[in-house]
């Protein structure tokens, strides 16, 4: 298997009638999925999409998303998955960056028409493993999205490692509610399809009862999640979570570190579960992997050893460096940014870490100030810029751990109105970027160069509030 587009034809030939993908509204066998993917590829070709063209996909987690993604690949184009709730400004940045030939939405009449056409063959296109498969946009340190270029070979190298480590088989059935516009969620779709298993997907844990019911009734074997999601399930819905997830074979938890005490709690709730975590960035998917179940409590703060073919080193400054076949060759259209991050073939991750004598990696901190909200990265500067456009705000600083907190200095005569500031942010930012706490302070502590001292913001002295 050399290309991501080899996955579906191979499985459709082996198990055409086996269930491949489903969502709350429909289920498709491998044969039906391939037919629909080919129909989309045919439609894209007819719409003038040529090999190498970019096609953005703005859809919620659904069978449609999976069909669109593989359809774009089958047309020889480059998939650009976007958050379904992407703001107009962010989407405009992405469009300006990669100039997609089309932006596909599952509400579009043309998409609905394409997927109803049967009997299509995918257009004949020549692609090689080193061709781009996807541009995965992530938020950079400036808040401007940057497109991580992933080739077929990059993705397949990571998938082979993940499939081997988790031990996927055709008997696996995985419930994926992680956003498919991110590598973590999309990777689990790929893995199941590569192994002949099945995937159920829906957008997030909002309808948590339905998700957990699906896990039990469908006989799911896997359920990837975030630490935030796991904490919510354990603390809020513990008894039902335990009962409905008792049949799971494995959970992979990532996007942020899983605190050891939470790993212990999860193991106690689901003792038969193989609990795994990994370390990986979009730029280098799944660099290390570990089964906390197999390794035991002494490894609960570890993210494991490097995967096959991947090299993890620690620089003189303590930064984690990654090299190998999974590492991107850069950011779309940004050679300078690429050169900053990838030097001598090594990805400079911005994370601080340590390797033990066995080569197991432990992440100790972050160089950057990005706030990680359940896997969603929030750049403080972007939120600060929005806050500063409000008339009542004279100065602003944003920081946080697992949640976004805003610190504002009021303009003369202005009143502190949290609800109004929240509305202002909701109007201009994606949901997850909106601060969940607002503090009125007398001043924003700054360095000599004027940058906010974010750590100090989170530890205000008692007399610093206004």
């Amino acid at each position: 298997m050399q290309l991501l587009t080899d996955i579906l034809p191979a499985q459709a030939a082996i198990r055409p009638e086996a269930e491949a993908v489903c969502d709350p509204n429909e289920s498709l066998s491998y044969a039906a999925l391939l037919e629909r993917v080919n129909a989309v590829a045919f439609g894209l070709h007819g719409a003038g999409v040529e090999p190498g063209d970019r096609v953005a996909i703005v859809m919620p987690n659904s069978v449609d998303f999976i069909v669109a993604h593989f359809g774009v690949l089958a047309a020889g184009a480059v998939s650009v998955p976007c958050e379904p709730g992407v703001s107009d400004a962010t989407l405009a940045s992405i469009v300006a960056s990669c100039s997609p030939k089309l932006v596909l939405r599952n509400s579009d009449d043309v998409f609905k028409k394409w997927i109803q056409v049967g009997g299509c063959e995918a257009p004949k296109v020549e692609r090689s493993p080193t061709d781009l498969a996807a541009l995965m946009y992530t938020t950079g340190t400036t808040g401007t999205p940057k497109g991580v270029m992933l080739t077929h070979a990059n993705v397949l190298a990571a998938l082979r490692n993940i499939c081997a480590f988790i031990g996927y088989t055709e008997a696996d059935r995985e419930v994926v509610v992680l956003p498919l516009s991110h590598n973590f969620g999309l990777g689990h779709v790929y893995c199941n399809l590569m192994s002949g298993g099945a995937v159920y997907t829906e957008p997030g844990l909002t309808r948590v009862g339905r998700v957990l019911r699906k896990i039990r009734d469908w006989g799911a074997t896997g359920f990837p999640g975030t630490p935030l999601g796991c904490v919510m399930l354990m603390d809020r819905y513990g008894e039902v979570f335990r009962e409905r997830c008792a049949g799971l074979r494995f959970m992979v938890v990532n996007s942020a570190p899983l605190p050891p005490k939470r790993a212990k709690q999860l193991r106690e709730m689901l003792p038969d579960l193989d609990l795994m975590v990994y370390y990986g960035l979009t730029e280098a998917s799944r660099s290390s992997f570990i089964s906390l179940t197999r390794e035991g409590p002494e490894c609960y703060d570890s993210v494991g050893p490097a995967m096959d073919g991947v090299c993890i080193e620690i620089s003189d400054t303590g930064e984690v460096l990654v090299s190998g076949p999974t590492v991107t060759f850069g950011y779309w259209g940004e050679p300078e940014r690429t050169a900053e991050v990838i030097r001598n073939g090594k990805l400079h991750t911005g994370d601080l870490g340590e390797l033990d004598a066995r080569g197991y990696l432990r992440i100790t901190g972050r160089i950057k100030d990005v706030v990680n909200v359940g896997g969603y990265k929030v750049v403080p500067e972007e939120v600060e810029r929005v806050l500063l456009t409000h008339a009542s705000v004279a100065d602003a600083g944003v920081a946080g751990v697992d949640r976004v907190e805003a610190f504002v200095v009021l303009a003369d005569g202005a009143e502190f109105d949290e609800a109004e500031l929240s509305r202002h942010c909701f109007a201009q930012l994606e949901n997850y970027k909106v601060p969940t706490r607002y503090h009125c302070v007398e001043a924003i502590p700054r360095t000599d160069t004027g940058k906010p001292r974010r750590a100090a913001l989170l530890k205000p002295s008692e007399d610093s509030s206004c």
């Binding site: 009862g209 919510m232 039902v240 909701f426």
Partner: protein, 79 residues
């Protein structure tokens, strides 16, 4: 009146406009009602009515109407 109080709580917790509200409004229908907002909303309702939802009931609350029914079930004796 429980219906009106739930309406106000949903509007306030989700930061939505009153016109967006209906008893048929479901979690996930609007971007503001995501999984974190859902948990916060349940907690706000519990606090306001001084009740604690049974986990087995809370997990299947998916709409504003479900919330109203759950509060009524928790605060009113069965007839």
């Amino acid at each position: 009146m429980i219906e009106e109080e739930i309406k106000q709580l949903v509007i306030a917790q989700l930061n939505i406009e009153p016109e967006q509200y209906s008893e048929d409004l479901m979690a996930g229908d609007i971007p503001e009602w995501d999984s974190l907002a859902h948990v916060n909303l349940l907690m706000a309702v519990e606090k306001r009515f001084n009740i604690v939802f049974d986990v087995g009931d809370a997990i299947d609350i998916e709409s504003a109407g479900d919330l109203i029914d759950a509060v009524k079930g928790s605060t009113q004796p069965p007839s």
